[in-house]
Amino acid sequence: MFHWLEKHPFFFAVGIFVTIAFAGLVEILPNFAQASRPVIGTTPYSTLELTGRHVYIKNSCNACHSQLVRPFKSETDRYGHYSLSGEYAYDRPFLWGSKRTGPDLMRVGNYRTTDWHENHMKNPASVVPGSIMPAYKWMFTNKADVETAYAEQLTVAQFFSVPYNKEVPMKDGSTKVVKMGASIAEANELALAEAKVIAANMKDQDVKDAVAKGEIPEIVALIAYMNSLK
């Protein structure tokens, strides 16, 4: 049979394809049948949080920081509850990472503040002596791209039924609505309202001035995203 296959490239190629495709069919398809359902308390990203998530991706933060707490005592002691599948229901793409050069950030919003992030991103070693993380000073001057985040919100709401402007159940039995702008102007307003809350807790005068003028520096969006990780 093999000698015959080696003289018939078409059937040879088909043979290879079937052999390699088999594992994917068995392993991957069944999981899609029960696509990750959000756990209670998991909400879609707000406009500014999603903008910050893009800043996180743009700078490949995931190259050094994981977002996956494994079910070991040493990890739950350090980072909090181990990760649940449904907590990632709105993560496109997933940001689990594959290397922890720095600590996990899955629940960083539980134990770090806006003020901490501000100092840390300007000069990591000033907050964590011995840190090998580089400074990210350009985030304090670069303007965040709210419009692309808005486009992504529209896309996921339209194609994947992500529940924007809808009631989402929370852990305490209440419900929460994550708003998405009806127009780009409204999206900018929503993002700016969130940014003002963050900027109020920051010390950098240039950032405060920018937000007061209606601009959103990348750092503000990033901190909004960091604070949402719980």
Partner: protein, 497 residues
């Protein structure tokens, strides 16, 4: 005319040899910079505060991985394909204007892709998925380039004189099909310019931005099914294709066992795809998939070692060649590193070992003993074998090759030993508890302790880069030397005698 031997046409092979060397230097140089940035963080500002955004570790890191995978390795694969393909199928590229055109187009579009990738990664335009960082316009370009590669494979097969496909061709076909399937499914994404609001307005934001078709756990599952098997069909399968051709050619020995090559080929095809789950142990993907990933990773030793043993036994009775020929040295050490790496991988895929190894530098060490020791050595050996035949000139310096070999071997050894120690140290410190059950170390303790190992790793990487520059110099001097013969040489390299 009738009795003249075939004159193979290496135009396209030469083009890809050039990018193999050039992108190899770029990728490895960035790698060395990254290594030293981890040891000495002030190097993040190597070009000053103003350019910090572009010289920063996190911006450069995807550039390193993609330059060595999609630059150095892919170019090497294609350089060898456009050389080996003609020879084992007994047909010349010069016989088909169409295939020659496809080959050149393949190279031209590939160059365009390389420029686009470098520019977009510097600007931070990335999907964040490892080894699939490119946004949809580049994805489409890559698919086109890949299809051209397929047209070239099957086109050349279509006009072949040798009816039976040699083992190397099996592996090239598998590489083409495997990557095609994986890349397409992993990069399913929706451009966000399609998203419309209630007023029917769309096209907001950056036109190149897209959002993954899969969310969370499913996205991770598809990504690592891709990520692991991109290694399979990029770093294993086509490299095995090379060694099945170049080792017998260079040593004058026939392949040890046809049956063993059958077993390892079909075994590899069946088993490899299952093993992707070992990247997701203790994550939120279903347990049975994690277990399958673990089990199949261990089974994977069989076909991997099958190929490697087949290669080493091909040298049976001819071991003096290892001492005499630097080229054989590269290939034999390459096979040895392949065995080493394919034993180390399954060990790391065992759940209890993975609990320590995952997220640490031990994984980085594992990747590099495979890529530096196996992929890098084999591609350089292939180019060394091809250079005299393609350029019709003797290799410039054999002693330079020997020096390069030992420098790079030392570099690889420093690299993986330091990363083993670093990884296991860090993994153990993360999980250490004191007598009261509290965590024994804060996270930063587990970072500062790594400084000496990061430094040693940087030195190891630097040695490898120095060796690679010697390789580039040797190839350059070879191609620019005075031509020796008009037609193909009998003993084309100093090692052949």
């Amino acid at each position: 005319m009738e009795n003249r031997p075939l004159e193979y046409d290496y135009t396209v092979a030469k083009m890809f040899m050039f990018t193999t060397v050039a992108l190899g230097i770029v990728g490895m140089l960035i790698g060395v910079i990254l290594a030293f940035q981890l040891a000495f963080p002030e190097l993040n500002l190597v070009l000053g505060e103003g350019l910090a955004e572009y010289t920063n570790y996190s911006r450069l890191r995807p550039l390193h991985t993609d330059a060595v995978i999609f630059g150095f390795t892919l170019s090497g694969i294609w350089a060898t394909w456009y050389y080996v393909g003609q020879r084992v199928l007994k047909v010349s590229m010069a016989e088909s204007k169409f295939l020659m055109f496809i080959g050149k187009l393949h190279f031209a579009l590939y160059l365009v892709g390389v420029v686009a990738v470098v520019a977009s990664l510097f600007l931070g335009i990335t999907t964040s998925k490892e080894y699939a960082e490119f946004e949809w316009p580049i994805d489409i370009a890559i698919v086109v380039v890949w299809v051209l590669f397929g047209v070239s494979i099957f086109g050349l097969i279509g006009i072949r004189r040798e009816k039976s496909l040699y083992i190397s061709v099996w592996y090239y076909i598998a590489s083409f099909l495997g990557i095609a399937m994986l890349y397409l499914f992993n990069n399913m994404e929706i451009p966000t310019m399609l998203g419309a609001n209630a007023a029917g307005e769309s096209g907001f934001g950056n036109w190149w931005h897209s959002v993954s078709m899969y969310a969370g756990t499913n996205d991770a599952l598809v990504e690592w099914w891709y990520g692991h098997n991109a290694v399979a069909f990029g770093f294993t399968v086509p490299i095995v294709a090379m060694i099945y051709y170049f080792l017998p050619k260079e040593s004058g020995q026939a392949i040890y066992s046809y049956k063993l090559s059958l077993l390892s080929f079909w075994g590899l095809m069946f088993v490899y795809l299952w093993a992707g789950g070992h990247h997701l142990l203790y994550s939120t993907v279903p347990d049975w998939m994690q277990t399958m990933g673990s089990v199949f990773s261990v089974i994977l030793i069989l076909p991997s070692w099958g190929s490697a043993i087949n290669m080493l036994l091909t040298m049976k009775g001819e071991w003096q060649q290892v001492a005499a020929s630097p080229l054989i040295k590269f290939m034999v050490l390459g096979s040895t590193f392949y065995m080493f790496s394919t034993l180390e991988g399954p060990i790391q895929a065992i759940k209890s070992v993975n609990a320590i190894a995952h997220f640490t530098d031990w994984i980085v060490g594992h990747v590099h003993d495979g890529t530096l020791g196996w992929v890098g050595f084999m591609i350089m050996a292939a180019l060394y074998h091809m250079a005299p035949r393609v350029f019709k000139r003797e290799i410039y310096s054999k002693s330079l090759m020997v020096t390069q070999f030992w420098i790079q071997t030392l570099g690889v050894v420093l690299y993986f030993t330091s990363m083993w120690i670093a990884g296991i140290t860090q993994g153990m410190m993360w999980r250490a508890h004191d007598e009261f059950g509290n965590l024994a170390y804060s996270f930063i303790d587990t970072v500062t302790v790594l400084h000496p190992y990061y430094t040693i790793r940087g030195v190891g990487g630097l040695l490898y880069l120095v060796g690679f520059l010697m390789f580039a110099y040797n190839i350059y001097k070879t191609m620019s030397a005075r031509p020796v013969e008009e037609s193909e040489l009998q003993n084309a390299s100093p090692m052949g005698a």
